[in-house]
C-alpha cells in the first residue's frame, strides 16, 4: 500500500488536469475518490482490539486487495460504478469527473506494492503488481510494522516522488490557485465551510491533506529509522533501535513480502498506464456531453428558484 503518496497525488491530479478542465473539476471529489478505496477496506486490515479481543482480518492482504475480500474496492470497475451512481444522482460534472480521477489515482498507485490490485476485475481476478516494495500489513505487526517496512523501502521513494511532483507544480498550493481554480468548482462546499472558518482557515483546509501527508511521511520515517524497536514486532535480524533502510526491489529484505496470485510483474506498469490513458481519454471525450446534460438537468431547478443560478459552478460554455 502507499501512504503519503495518496495525499500528494490529489494535488498532482489537480495540477495536471486537461487544459479545458482547469478550474472546473471539484477538488473535494478528487479527495473523496482517492479516499474511498481505503475508507471502505482498511478499517479491517489492521483491525482493532476491545477488551483484549482483536477484531480484524485474519489475512489482511487478502481482505485488502483480494477476492473474496474487499479487493474490488481498489478496482477501476468499482470506481466506474460509483462514478456512474454519482452522475445519475446529481448530474454534477465537476464532481463526477473529479471523483473518477481521484479513484483511478489511488487504484493505479497501489499496483506498486507486492500484493497489487485487480486492475481488470471482474474480467480477470489476478492482481497486477510491480512488486516495487513489500506489502507488510500483518496481524501481529499491524500498522506499525507496515509503516516501518514502507518507510524503509522504495515506498519512501514513492512518497518522495509524488511530493516532488507536487512541489514542481507548487502553484497548486498557493492562495491564488485556490481562489481562482479550486473555489469556483466547489462554490457551495466552500461557502458552507465559510460559515465557520475565516479565509485563512479555508485555505488551510485546502492545504491540509498535503500538510498531513508531508507530516506523516516525516514522522513515520523518523520513527522507523531512529526510534522504533524492531524486537517489539517480531524476530528481526536488525539493530536494536530503528529498522534498516533497504531500497532493493520488493524490499525491505528483513520482512517477508505478502502477495496474491498475480500476472507477470512486467505487465503491471504498461497495464496501469494504459488504463490511466483510457481514463483521461474518456473524461476528455465526455466533458462537453456531460456539461450539456448537466445544463439541461439544472434548467428546471434554476427555474424553480425564480431563475437564479444555484451556484454549482456550471459553465454555460459546456
Amino acid at each position: 500500500m502507499s501512504w503519503a503518496a495518496h495525499q500528494f497525488e490529489i494535488y498532482a491530479v489537480q495540477a495536471h488536469l486537461p487544459q479545458k478542465m482547469k478550474g472546473k473539476v471539484s477538488f473535494w471529489a478528487i479527495f473523496l475518490g482517492d479516499f474511498t478505496p481505503d475508507f471502505l477496506s482498511k478499517f479491517w486490515v489492521y483491525g482493532f482490539t476491545i477488551n483484549g479481543t482483536r477484531y480484524g482480518s485474519d489475512v489482511p492482504h487478502q481482505w485488502h486487495r483480494g477476492f473474496p475480500g474487499m479487493g474490488f474496492t481498489h478496482t477501476l470497475f468499482f470506481g466506474v460504478i460509483l462514478t456512474l451512481l454519482i452522475w445519475s444522482w446529481r448530474k454534477n460534472r465537476a464532481f463526477t469527473i473529479g471523483y473518477l480521477l481521484g479513484f483511478a489515482a489511488h487504484a493505479l498507485t497501489d499496483i506498486n506494492d507486492s500484493v497489487g490490485v485487480m486492475l481488470f476485475f471482474p474480467f480477470l481476478m489476478l492482481n497486477f503488481t510491480s512488486e516495487t516494495w513489500a506489502y507488510a500489513a500483518t496481524v501481529d505487526g499491524g500498522k506499525y510494522l507496515d509503516a516501518a517496512a514502507y518507510y524503509s523501502s522504495l515506498g519512501l521513494v514513492m512518497d518522495l516522488f509524488w511530493l516532488i511532483v507536487v512541489l514542481i507544480s507548487w502553484r497548486v498550493l498557493t492562495r491564488e490557485h485556490w481562489r481562482t481554480q479550486i473555489v469556483p468548482a466547489d462554490a457551495r462546499i466552500w461557502a458552507w465551510f465559510g460559515r465557520w472558518l475565516p479565509e485563512r482557515g479555508l485555505l488551510a483546509l485546502y492545504r491540509a491533506t498535503f500538510f498531513y501527508g508531508l507530516c506523516r511521511m516525516i514522522s513515520w520515517s523518523a520513527w522507523a529509522r531512529f526510534f522504533a524497536e524492531p524486537g517489539t514486532y517480531g524476530e528481526y535480524d536488525v539493530t536494536s533501535r530503528g529498522f534498516p533502510m533497504d531500497l532493493s526491489w520488493t524490499g525491505p529484505s528483513w520482512l517477508d513480502a505478502r502477495s496474491l496470485p498475480h500476472v507477470n510483474p512486467w505487465l503491471a506498469y504498461p497495464a496501469a498506464l494504459m488504463l490511466l490513458a483510457i481514463v483521461y481519454v474518456v473524461i476528455i471525450r465526455l466533458w462537453e456531453p456531460m456539461g450539456r446534460r448537466e445544463a439541461k438537468a439544472l434548467a428546471p431547478r434554476s427555474r424553480s428558484r425564480n431563475g437564479t443560478h444555484d451556484g454549482s459552478g456550471v459553465q454555460a460554455d459546456a
Binding site: 466552500w190 514522522s219 513515520w220
Partner: protein, 96 residues
C-alpha cells in the same frame, strides 16, 4: 466567495481582511504558522502515533492557522491588540 457586506471594504485595506473581517496571513507570518504546525505535529507524532490520522492532521493545521494568529493578536504580540475586523467595525461605528 462573496464578500461580507458588513465589513467596511474601504478601511482597512481589503487585501488584509477576508469576507468575515478576519485577518489574512501573508508572507513570513503565514510561513511561521504553517512551519510551527508542522514541527509540532511531526514532533508529537513520532512519540504519539495516534495523532497521525486523517482527522487530527488537518484539524491540527486548521487550529494553528485559525487560532494561533487570533491568540497572538489578543495578547498584543503582533502589534495588533485588536483584530483588523474590530478596527474596521469601530471605524464604521464612529460618527464622522
Amino acid at each position: 466567495m462573496a464578500s461580507d457586506p458588513d465589513v467596511d471594504q474601504s478601511s482597512p485595506s481589503p487585501d488584509t481582511v477576508d469576507f468575515r473581517g478576519s485577518r489574512r496571513l501573508v508572507g513570513a507570518e503565514e510561513w511561521f504558522w504553517y512551519v510551527a504546525a508542522a514541527v509540532t505535529y511531526i514532533g508529537l507524532g513520532i512519540w504519539h502515533k495516534w495523532l497521525l490520522n486523517w482527522f487530527i492532521g488537518p484539524a491540527w493545521l486548521i487550529a494553528f492557522i485559525v487560532v494561533g494568529p487570533w491568540v497572538t493578536d489578543r495578547l498584543g504580540m503582533t502589534g495588533r491588540s485588536r483584530s483588523v475586523a474590530d478596527t474596521a467595525r469601530s471605524d464604521r461605528e464612529t460618527p464622522r
